[in-house]
């Protein structure tokens, strides 16, 4: 486990296939630049994102997490993102309770045409997470667990 001490945050963005992933692809087509820190994981729907994924990311030292999907009312699967919205309002509080700054977690609605919004969000979240510094909260714990595994 090599968590770098440099302030170059790792950010994971769970993006629904139909809206935000498409929007991020469009950002590419437009050659819109954003920080290399954002890594997209494709999921069918933002409603697929299990809070467990986010907890795991933070536990492993990920510095920021984004969950992005279609705008409410536009979900490809009709209602998925409503659940996302509700679930992640709670999530923010759970994170806070666990000592993770809620500024590290962002749920955003970005449609397939909002390439600019995707770029802006990536920039904004990266800047915010960078300001918060590396997420070291569970590093010791994870490290111990890793060495126990070995």
């Amino acid at each position: 486990m090599s968590v770098k001490e440099t302030n170059d945050p790792k950010i994971i963005a769970f993006c629904c296939n139909w809206c935000t992933y498409t929007g991020a692809d469009l950002a590419g087509l437009n050659r819109s630049h954003y920080p290399e820190n954002v890594h997209i994981v494709r999921v069918p729907c933002s409603g697929r994102v299990n809070p467990q994924f986010i907890l795991r990311a933070f536990r492993n030292g990920c510095d920021g997490v984004m969950v992005c999907g279609c705008h409410p009312g536009d979900c490809h699967y009709s209602t998925g993102n409503y659940f996302t919205r509700r679930r992640f309002t709670l999530m923010k509080r759970l994170l806070e309770y666990n000592g993770i700054d809620p500024g590290r977690f962002h749920a955003r609605w970005i449609s397939g045409s909002e390439a600019g919004k995707f770029r802006d969000t990536a920039e904004e979240v990266t800047a915010m997470v960078r300001k918060l510094g590396p997420n070291t909260r569970y590093r010791e714990y994870a490290r111990r667990e890793m060495s126990a595994d070995e």
């Binding site: 590419g28 890594h39 997209i40 494709r42 069918p44 990920c62 699967y77 998925g80």
Partner: protein, 659 residues
């Protein structure tokens, strides 16, 4: 250990200019499970694909990671390619290093690092890929159209003309819907019956169309290609197999009750046809008003019927049929303004009519044979007030939306009054006049030239004074109070979804919007589909619209149905939810969250220790599941998982990034 092949694409210079492809390949070689890694200028090209196929053979690869453009671009291409190899097409992951890396970054060192991380994530996910098999479901080549208005009739005719069987189901005793009630249709003023009755007759006579009138859907099971629909035929008490529709019974029946078709403006007997041109052209008995059925006396119709068609013992009958596709064409109703507008008298004044009542009044086959007279005293009105947006664009009282057809039919009503009773003063109260459509604005202009007086403002109160209906309101353009002493008032009321739509939509798992109209799959690109595979939409059940738009919508729905029924079987995506039975606690959270009613709780026999027990567990209908994965996030025990995007796979990606 898996044997993963990693193939990094240059995409000409699109990727290679910003990402050091050779470094990416070298680092991929070091990843656990990777048996082979290589690069090529254009992976998607013929030689690129051949290179992948050769490597699969040569190195015995069992799964593939391609680092290239977005999977939205070439996932299908590469899946197709894998069909010719030993590798299952779903043992494929694509690392998006073009749209989401080389095109959005400029610093080559950093972009290369990111590409390496993205590839590492895809490799980690691929290690947990499993072979998946698309299944194909046979398609029953029959369609069910629910609702026999112009939308349903048009859809049924188009599907039938394309050579497929259609059942056209209507809960009333005749097809025709609202269009059959209308007198003339804007903007051309052609007679509604003249253009709709031939279509009704065509539908009734078409060899591929079976009419199911007086029928309702009571239950449905199954999914696209295979809907098992249970239908109830309400008792008609007349044997339609032998009835010729001579009509003798109708003339002899002693009962007089309100005619639904004329919206209470006239009476009809208890044995009746909905209207003279009804299709099928055979009567039914209304069990609520028939003396024989309610009180046990009378029986006149049975006595006069020359063919012995009357059967008082007839009962509701249920039957189940299979259909490959369903079309919702359940139309609209007018809002019940009487409950909402107490200030308009709440329905106490007989000379206040709804738009549809007015249509019957001006209709030559209506209760007055087309004479515009007051229902109360049979006198011709000298002053008529037409009030628009009653219940529409009025979120406080009715609906927030615009009912779309009313501006035009209000102009039509004004025109009809001025045409039949020249010299009548016609006031139209409006908020805005909306007339988009071919020839619509011209029609509205003409009505104003004909003499209709448009007053901008809502009517706040209508009350009776002598034999006048006093309409109080404001002319918002002049900023003045207005008072019109009308002899007759026509309320152009809001369209609302048909009663019973809630039950019907729930049965099929189809979503409704905030106003209960059926929700289309996409407001722009999929206007005639619902989010449930195989269930389509036609006409006003999706939202208010006029006849031209309804017919266009219905034909579009029919085209979708035909292209589905033209196939004999359909491939379904294997990326759907699966339940690990032993982990499922039967809480039902997944059942509730599923937008497709694809999950049901099923009783299974189980053991707790030595005891045999029955317990519920979730079960996924593979025909209905669309693979959204909402259930997986709702599952408390992690028993339900999504193939292709398993929890473990996504967690692997997370771990691989954080490494």
């Amino acid at each position: 250990m898996s044997k993963i092949g990693v193939f990094v694409c240059h995409c000409g210079t699109n990727i290679a200019n910003t990402v050091d492809v050779e470094r990416a390949v070298a680092s991929a070689r070091e990843l656990p499970g990777v048996a082979f890694a290589s690069e090529y200028k254009y992976m998607c090209s013929e030689p690129g694909q051949q290179m992948i196929k050769d490597a699969i053979e040569e190195y015995g690869l069992d799964r593939v990671v391609i680092a290239s453009c977005s999977p939205r671009m070439h996932e299908t291409t590469f899946r197709k390619m894998l069909k010719d190899t030993k590798v299952n097409p779903y043992m494929l992951e694509i690392a998006n290093i073009r749209e989401q890396c080389s095109w959005v970054h400029t610093d080559k060192a950093k972009a290369t690092e990111k590409a390496i991380r993205l590839i590492r994530m895809s490799v980690a996910k691929a290690a947990r890929d499993e072979p998946l098999f698309a299944s194909s479901i046979p398609i029953e080549k029959r369609a069910l159209v629910i609702g026999g208005g112009i939308a349903g009739i048009q859809a049924a005719l188009d599907i039938a003309d394309a050579g497929h069987e259609v059942a056209l189901l209507e809960r009333e005793p005749s097809i025709g819907g609202k269009m059959a009630m209308l007198d003339k249709t804007f903007p051309t003023l052609d007679c509604s019956a003249c253009i709709s009755t031939p279509k009704m007759v065509d539908a009734g006579a078409h060899p591929n169309i079976k009419l199911l009138t007086s029928c309702e859907v009571v239950k449905t099971e199954g999914y696209i290609g295979n809907f098992q629909v249970t239908i109830r035929r309400n008792a008609r008490y007349v044997n339609h197999d032998i009835c010729t529709g001579c009509g003798l019974c109708e003339t002899k029946c002693p009962v007089k009750t309100d005619s639904e078709f004329n919206h209470g403006l006239s009476k009809r007997p208890a044995i009746y046809k909905l209207f003279p041109q009804a299709v099928p052209s055979k009567p039914v008995i209304d069990k609520n008003s028939c003396l024989k059925l309610t009180k046990g006396k009378c029986g006149v119709c049975e006595k006069v019927c020359p063919l012995g068609c009357i059967d008082y013992a007839d009962e509701d009958r249920e039957f189940t049929e299979t259909f490959g596709a369903i079309v919702f064409a359940t139309g609209y109703e007018l809002i019940d303004w009487t409950a909402l507008y107490g200030e308009y008298g709440g329905g106490r004044y007989p000379d206040m009519l709804t738009g549809l009542q007015f249509e019957r009044l001006v209709n030559a086959s209506g209760p007055t044979e087309g004479h515009i007279v007051r229902p109360s005293d049979g006198k011709e009105p000298k002053t008529v007030a037409i009030v628009k947006c009653v219940g529409s664009r009025d979120p406080k009282k009715g609906k927030s939306y615009c009912s779309r057809a009313c501006c035009m039919y209000a102009a039509k009503h004004a025109h009809q009054i001025l045409d039949k009773l020249p010299g009548t003063r016609v006031f139209i109260f409006y908020i805005d006049v909306r007339t988009p459509g071919k020839g619509y604005e011209e029609f509205y202009d003409q009505t104003r030239k004909d003499g209709a007086i448009y007053v901008r403002g809502r009517i706040s109160k209508i009350y009776k004074d002598g034999d006048k209906l006093v309409c109080n309101g404001e002319d918002t353009l002049l900023g003045k109070q207005v008072k019109v002493m009308a002899d007759m008032v026509v309320l152009e009321t809001a369209m609302t979804p048909s009663s019973g739509i809630e039950e019907l939509a729930t049965m099929f798992g189809v979503a409704r919007d905030v106003n209960d109209w059926i929700q289309e799959a996409h407001p722009k690109l999929r206007p005639v589909e619902t989010q449930v595979g195989g269930v389509f939409l036609a006409g006003t059940c999706q939202g208010p619209r006029d006849i031209p738009d309804t017919v266009a919508h219905a034909s579009a729905a029919a085209a979708k149905v035909v292209s589905l029924l033209n196939k004999s079987e359909m491939e379904t995506s294997p990326m759907i939810s699966v339940v690990r039975r032993e982990h499922c606690c039967g809480c039902g959270a997944c059942e509730k969250i599923c937008p497709y009613t694809a999950i049901t709780l099923e009783e299974i026999d189980d053991r707790v220790g030595a005891k045999r027990v029955k317990r519920p567990i979730a079960s996924v209908n593979s025909g209905l599941c669309q693979g959204c994965g909402a259930c997986t996030a709702a599952c408390r025990t992690g028993a339900i998982d999504l193939l292709g995007f398993r929890n473990a796979q996504i967690l692997e990606e997370v771990d691989a990034l954080c490494l």
